[in-house]
Symmetry: C2
DNA sequence: ACATGCAACTTGTATAATACAAGTATATAC
DNA sequence: GTATATACTTGTATTATACAAGTTGCATGT
């Protein structure tokens, strides 16, 4: 029962977490901010959705998503489509402009990651991607 | 030139980043908060250091570390040792209490990570740890 | 030796992302 | 038709960060 890998993972995750906080909040890095990017991505790839559904999906408070959605709407990246069956609800639908920005931003982000992992082998990248995905799934399962 | 692994990494990193922000800030998870943990860890494993050196090490603003250091001192986890050669400077030295808390906190954190990765093979953990480390190094090199 | 600028640290202020709580409007159940 | 639940918004607090200004001590050039 060697504890070393867990030690490493624990520490490196803590370091990464802080670095990501700093970067994603203070060093704007695409066109879109973090939340806009993830929201747009979600809507674009899984279809229109309401605030509640998105909050559940991301495990964030509804109020957080509500504000982020307003911001997106204000910038014209999404429109609210009122739910015809429920006067309280609506769904967020991505606009052409929104899809455009998402595409551009995604490209920039992938470029940057590509630069960062410049000297990684294809295998390493693939493996790392898989493990990250697995980690995120585990995190979502637990919380 | 398959872009898929980069796509995955990019997206999963964005997701992870947000999840870590939320968890590390709002769901206290050890005894120590994030910054306290990392600062204590650094001092404990690399020896006493001043605010400037720590800020450099972590790539954070000096003011950020200054406040975090004050908080640690207030809780009695570190003491300031004035630099005999430079009246402006001092070094932060971990106290017995601090070392104790660090130990306890580390154990808790590693337990949690262990639970999270319960069904991972030893190989996966090892590989993931290595890749995380490599990633953090790359990040620090770039910024 | 002293003025000027540099360095280490602190403190003030702003920003961003989050959470929790209270409020509004609508829907549903009885 | 009233009480309760739901979808969303808005108000407020917290936390981690950055940047800027301030203080005190150091180093150096003349």
């Amino acid at each position: 029962m060697d504890k070393r890998p867990l030690e490493t993972i624990e520490l490196e995750m803590a370091i990464l977490s802080r670095r990501l906080t700093s970067i994603s909040t203070y060093k704007k890095y695409g066109i879109l901010d973090h939340s806009a990017y993830l929201l747009l991505h979600q809507i674009a790839s899984n279809g229109s959705a309401g605030v509640k559904a998105l909050a559940d999906e991301f495990h964030l408070d509804i109020s957080t998503i509500s504000r982020q959605a307003s911001a997106l709407e204000q910038k014209g990246y999404v429109t609210r489509i009122p739910d015809p069956l429920d006067g309280r609800a609506y769904t967020l639908q991505i606009t052409e402009l929104g899809a455009d920005m998402l595409k551009k931003d995604t490209d920039i982000r992938q470029d940057k990651i590509g630069q960062l992992l410049e000297d990684w082998s294809e295998e390493e990248r693939e493996h790392f991607g898989q493990l990250l995905q697995k980690l995120n799934e585990a995190i979502f399962r637990v919380m």
